[in-house]
Subunit: 363 residues, 2 copies
């Protein structure tokens, strides 16, 4: 470890990928051309040209697109709009930890749907619905799921939409990693299949830069007005300057090559992670083999206490996220998320070898 | 009116005051020097140099300073942190309309404290406290209050602090207009007098540009950790890029001259407003004579229905904000807020003459 700490904690892109010069050019252009607009208050839905661009891309209307200071913030507004204390919300298990915090704060009851190699267990979902549990919405990360790395199979997406119509709940799909596919074919998004039932959230944090804080939520028309209203009441509007920078970046044709560069950077890191797992953890854990995104989720074979694991890993120079934070209901001790995008291949191999040593020492 | 609509609605600064070229220079410098930091995720409290600058200015610690996407957003987080349904919160009456919406959403019971020429009625406040009403906090805009324009007298500030200590409530002072004083002397802020009891919110929206969405909240130390946590849970962090632009603007010595320019721009508009009120409304309304800020609040002498007034004004080419939105408890029909900063002297005179005509026609 050479005294260096290896961070296997959050899904943060490496600063080396930031197109800083291009962002500066976009900022200058935007202030020169749209200074009066981007420096003033504006309607809470956000900078219209970017909303129109996202609407074109998703075959929706600009009025359905709401921009915010990151997509998490918009999810929070949606939760505040539709979730009352003791309402049910379904999530994948494991899932992204931050929405769990928002849901807990709203007083929601959260049910985790177990993950399989091809995404959430739809039989389990069906059973819960048949038992009479009625969620307000299902929160799902269909592509390169955080934290497991899996992609939800097309037939399961169809089944979930069927259930959403039958039992009247919203599907909130979160797509921050969708465009970071390193191999294989894209699966239809929920929004493409059922625009009347689906809220699609995503952001430019993983594609351009997290610091710009530009996320978006595309919602069915009846929800657009109420969401724009609660957004205005809460923040007046998010920064048009940042939104216009993103728009300008896209307008200049810089987003596609940026994404291609990210793929070239990240794919070898994913492959290194999978190879190191084979080398060091083959007898200690199981994992899916993701085709994209930021994470490989691993499940240790032997029982372990997540707190102890975290502590021992720390002593060995490894920072881990507590696996239990990804599980809505107290599970997750054996779950370890491996974010690989901000590490070097050497750090990945040393990190996973170190993790194997720690797990063995606890076995 | 020449067919032109005169907007007497929100307190929006005129785009002509935006230092757009300087902001562009700051953006370029910030991205060149701090690109990696401002484009990455960061701690939720915000960009440290700006927090240090604000801490120096207010004699607090940087850890107590939390930056957000506008100050309203931070107030919302504070409300979510400390207010439970049916808790009491005290406000001035009239007060800024947006906090009332946030408080209602939190289920708070809101008591309005009547405004006098030198700010809120402290005898009324004392009586409510003696009756046993226990607010979680008092929200107050001590300088050039929105919407009335008044400044809270120093002795009243002392009295309020005394009461806050005795009855154990927080004072939240909102200071967006404090630095826009066109005459007279500054009064000590609540924070200067009682840093252990006071949360100070303010922003650069009225001093540099609203579109940057940079606001701040300075809080007593015990609240800083919990507020930073709820901020992280809700938005991860607000945009460091925007915060760094503001910091750079201050660093370069551009803020003070910018404020001086704003004063030179706004003072004649305030004077024109007061003169036009004398000319046209002397027998129809009363108002205080503010020494700064964005607003003159007027109270019509004769009873009127705010909805009818708004409608008739609209027919006469005047957009008004419904006076009732500034009152927590259904009052405010006779209240008209006159924001003068984004109007020309001619628009001000025509607007107020028009308003007088409408009021007379309803009398």
């Amino acid at each position: 470890m050479d005294g260096q700490v290896i961070k296997l904690t959050r899904g943060t892109p490496p600063t080396s990928t930031f197109p800083t010069g291009k962002i500066a050019e976009c900022a200058s252009a935007v202030l020169a051309q749209h200074g009066d607009e981007v420096l003033q208050y504006g309607p809470s839905r956000g900078f219209l040209p970017l909303r129109e661009e996202l609407a074109r891309e998703t075959n929706t209307k600009a009025d359905q697109v709401i921009l915010g200071g990151g997509s998490l913030n918009l999810l929070d507004l949606f939760i505040r709009l539709v979730v009352k204390p003791r309402d049910w919300v379904f999530v994948e298990k494991p899932t992204y930890d931050r929405p769990l915090i928002l849901l807990r704060r709203a007083g929601a009851r959260v049910r985790g749907l177990p993950m399989e190699e091809d995404g959430l267990n739809t039989r389990y979902l069906t059973q819960r619905l048949e038992e009479g549990v009625r969620p307000v919405f299902l929160y799902v990360i269909p592509d390169f799921q955080n934290p497991s790395g899996t992609v939800l199979a097309l037939e399961k997406r169809h089944r979930i939409i069927e259930l959403a119509r039958q039992y009247d709940f919203w599907i909130v799909e979160d797509l921050p990693y969708r465009k970071l596919r390193y191999r294989g074919d894209e699966v239809l998004s929920f929004l493409e299949m059922a625009p009347d039932r689906v809220l699609q959230m995503s952001s430019f944090s993983k594609l351009i830069s997290p610091g710009l804080r530009v996320g978006h939520l595309i919602v069915p028309e009846p929800l657009a007005g109420p969401l724009a209203k609660i957004a205005e009441e809460t923040t007046i509007n998010a920064s048009y300057l940042n939104q216009a920078i993103v728009y300008e970046f896209i307008e200049r044709g810089w987003l596609e090559p940026q994404i291609e560069e990210l793929k070239v950077t990240y794919q070898p890191l994913l492959d290194a992670t999978l190879a190191s797992l084979e080398d060091h953890m083959g007898d200690l854990a199981t994992w899916h083999r993701p085709d994209g995104g930021f994470f490989v989720g691993t499940m240790l074979n032997a029982p372990v206490d997540a707190g102890v694991l975290q502590q021992k890993a720390h002593e060995a120079g490894l920072l881990l996220t507590d696996g239990r934070t990804f599980f809505p209901d107290g599970d997750g001790d054996r779950f370890v998320r491996l974010p690989f995008c901000a590490l070097s291949e050497r750090e990945i191999d040393e990190g996973i070898a170190g993790l194997a040593g720690v797990v063995r020492s606890l076995g």
